[in-house]
Structure formats: C-alpha cells, structure tokens
C-alpha cells in the first residue's frame, strides 16, 4: 500500500488523541489545582530492513508521551479559612489515603468528624508528624507562609509541602491527586509559600486551548484530504494501467 496513506493515518491517530487531551484541558478549565497537558509528538523514522516496501525517507508521527505544564495557576481568594494554595511551582501538599501516599495542589480542605484535616475526598492531609488534628474550640485557624498552623497563637502543626527531583515520576490518579510512580522519595519544599483562604485555579489558558482545537480540526481535515488524494491517485493509476492493457 501507499506510504502516504500510512503516514497520514499516523497523523490522524495522534490528532484524535490530541483532541482528547485538549477536551480534557477545557473540561478542567475551572478545576482547582489542575495542570494543563499536551501530547508530545516525535518523528518515527520508518525502518528499512523489517519492512521492505517502506522506502527510506518515510517517517511517521508518534506520540511518545504527554507533557504537563506545572506552572503556577492564578490564586483566587475564597475567604474560607481551610482553603490553601501553594505559591511556587512543582510543590504539592502531601496526603495519605487508603491507597497510600498521594500529592495534590488542590488545597480545599475540610475537617472530618474527629477534627482531622482532610481533602474533600477524605484523604488525610499530612503534617510534619503525620495527620493534622485541629480542635475548632481552640479558635480561628491561621496558617503562616511556611505552612505552620496555629490556633489562638499556639502552633498545632505544620502542613507538609513536598517536591520531587523530577516531576515526570508523578502519575495522575483523578480526583485532583497525583501518585508517585517511582521509588523516588519527595523532599520538603522550603522555597514555596502556603497561602491561606486562597485556592489555585487551573493553569489552562482557554484562548490557547481553543486555538489548539481549531488547529487540530484543520490539520485533521487536510490529512484526510491528503489520504483521499492518495487514494484517488492509486485508483486512477489502476484505471489507466487497465486501459493500456
């Protein structure tokens, strides 16, 4: 078969996948702490030996990963004392739930019936010494920029804010949680600030995403046209060859 059709098909498949990712970005344009994603594409040069009919010089499009943009999202003031945002890139709140350790940028926390600080999904927020327990009777909760929680001027714990050497070890688990997919241990992030009564918005840039959407659509159309033309070409070739005989 025609190499052009195969090359076009490889592009169509990656475009479909890009569309899925852009759709997910736009759906999460309003999700607290969401980080925008994009498909990383590469050129896959056709191999000569294994596939004799593919001539050198033909390469396909391959998606070899997704890139997450961990840049800071806009901070939004909520006025709620248990909302926290991290100011500083690449750091996360450390959590613990039934499936082990988790990490998040979504700091909309709450208290469980025992007074433990948890996420809205129920994962326990970790402090320097394990779970953080607050007693509402002790008064207003105040959090300093280094994560120290105090009530009535008395320190009661410190939010554990961590970062990894390489962010590529993090796997998204849904519910705004990241999981560590490697053996790398996180280290305390001392260079970032915790902001109370604020939440970090998603860092999706809607204009960019809509532009991507248009680009994907047009590219898909033109690749489809190219496949059509290739198809046409071979059909005409067959017709003409038939006539000559």
């Amino acid at each position: 078969m025609e190499n052009a059709a195969y090359a076009g098909l490889s592009r169509q498949m990656t475009l479909r996948r890009e569309l899925d990712i852009v759709a997910n970005n736009i759906a999460n344009a309003d999700t607290t702490g969401f980080k925008v994603e994009q498909l990383l594409l590469g050129e896959e040069v056709g191999e000569r030996a294994r596939n004799a009919f593919i001539r050198p010089g033909v390469s396909f499009v391959m998606d070899n990963g997704i890139g997450r943009d961990f840049s800071q999202g806009a901070l939004e003031q909520t006025g709620r004392s248990l909302d926290f945002a991290i100011e500083g890139e690449g750091a996360f709140f450390a959590l613990k739930d039934g499936n082990g350790d988790a990490y998040t940028r979504d700091g909309a926390f709450t208290l469980d019936p025992e007074g433990r600080l948890t996420t809205q999904g129920g994962a326990a927020v970790q402090g320097d010494g394990g779970d953080i327990v607050l007693d509402p009777l002790l008064g207003q909760v105040a959090v300093a920029a280094d994560g120290t929680i105090s009530q009535n001027g008395q320190p009661v714990g410190r939010l554990s804010v961590v970062r990894f050497d390489t962010l590529a070890v993090l796997e998204k688990g849904g519910d705004g949680l990241y999981r560590n997919a490697s053996n790398a241990a996180p280290a305390a992030a001392n260079d970032v600030q915790v902001r109370q009564a604020m939440l970090e918005g998603s860092n999706v840039n809607p204009i960019l995403e809509i532009t991507n959407l248009i680009e994907i659509q047009r590219a898909y159309e033109s690749v489809t046209r190219m496949i059509e033309n290739t198809n046409d070409l071979s059909r005409r070739a067959v017709e003409r060859l038939g006539r000559a005989a």
């Binding site: 169509q12 479909r16 996948r17 569309l19 899925d20 990712i21 852009v22 759709a23 997910n24 736009i26 759906a27 999460n28 344009a29 309003d30 999700t31 607290t32 969401f34 498909l39 990383l40 998606d63 070899n64 990963g65 997704i66 890139g67 997450r68 909520t78 006025g79 709620r80 979504d106 909309a108 709450t110 208290l111 469980d112 019936p113 007074g115 809205q120 999904g121 509402p136 009777l137 590529a168 796997e171 998204k172 688990g173 849904g174 519910d175 705004g176 997919a181 490697s182 809607p206 995403e209 809509i210 959407l213 248009i214 659509q217 898909y220 159309e221 489809t224 059509e228 198809n231 046409d232």
Partner: protein, 262 residues
Amino acid sequence: MRALRTAASGMAAQQLNVEVISNNIANMNTVGFKRQRAEFQDLLYQNVERMGAQSSSQGTVVPTGIQIGAGVKAGSVYRVVEQGTPTQTGNRYDMAVDGRGYFQILMPSGETAYTRAGNFSVNGEGQLVTDDGYAVQPNISIPQDAIDVSVSKSGQVQVITQGETEPQIVGQIELASFFNEAGLEAIGDNLLLETAASGPANVGSPGEVGFGELLQGYTEASNVDAVAEISALIIAQRAYEMNSKVITTADQMLSVAGQVKS
C-alpha cells in the same frame, strides 16, 4: 470518540456550577444563609502508555507515558461558613452569633436542628420560637407581663416585669458547635441537621472559648458576595461555551472521517 464525552462532562459540571451560583444569588437576602461553592476534580485517567514501561530491550523506559483524562466531575459542593455581616433590625427577639456556633431548634419530629438564623419571635405561650414556630432549645419563656427583654452577649435572657426594678433571669441560650460545620446537612427553612460527617454537637454558652457572642437586635446577613457570584456566573457561562465548542469540533472531525471517499 472520547473528546465528545469529555466535553459533555465539562458542560455538566458547569451546569452544576451555575445551579449552585443561582442558589447563592437567590438566597442573597436570606438570614444566616451560607454561600456554597462547587469544587471540581479531574476524572479518571486512562494509561495509554504507562510511564516507566520498558521501551526497548536495552532497558530504556518511557519517561512520561501517555495518560488521557476522561473529563471533570463535581468533587463536592460545600458551604463556606465564614461570618455574615450582622444587620441591625431593632427587633428585641432577633439574635446574631458573632463567631462560631449554631442555635439549637427542636423540630416537631423531636430531632434537634441547628441554625444561624436568629430571627426569633415568641408564640402564644411566650416561648421563644423560630419563624416556623419551632422552639429554641433550651426552652425560654418570656412572662406575659414583661416590659423589656434583654439578651446578654453570653446568652443570658433577662426580663423586667411590670412594677419591678430588678431584672429577672428567665433563661440561658446555648449554642452548638461542630468539628466540621460544612458537613451539616441542610434541610431547607434555614435549618441544618447533624450528620456523621459533621461530628457530634458540642454545646456551650455564647462567649465561652470556641463559641461566638450573641448580638441582640441584630440578624446575621447571608455571606453571599453579589459581585463574586456574578463574576463566577460569567466564568461558568464561558467555560460552558468552550466545552460546547469542543463538541462541535469533535463532531465535525467525525463527519470528515465519515465522508472519506473510497
């Protein structure tokens, strides 16, 4: 095509967002109302190519992998329990809590409900009741011959009766507090019920450690900020439109694929 469903989840989420915002705006003037906020979370991710998978026999691994998200969902809709502005009403049975704590109300079913709305009145028997006639707990009865009623910051109710100069104590208002106030279940009529998520009620007098003080002649206004709600509404509408744009695009791409001439 996954993009269609992903965008649909985005539209559903924004619709919920608009519903929450419209309820906030509708209750802008409801006494003791606490605004709500919809929190969104990303949905499951599908690992198309798992990170850390071997990519060759030489032991090289895929550094990032391909994870494709399936859209967005509402993580929770929670009440923001920050203080509302105390508003002067001049009504002597109106009370606002300045700080933490809920008034306790005895429901006709015998259950105890909790409220921040302190716009009380007295019924035919002189009992302090809510707008719906449910008694405030502990029971407080105002004698018929009372000329003036005063409620102290610590919740002590005193009356001056005809011909007396000394005020007479007729009751003490107590408040309830919870570990997780946002976990209370709203049942309408400004009332909330205790749940497993809120934890048990902790009862104390106003002004004690962990409880707010009472303000007589005031009610607590809702903590809805009209400007913030309207801008949230605009953001929700635009986000909804963008998701519908994704659906249109995905649909057009499908139609292009369907029209390929063979």
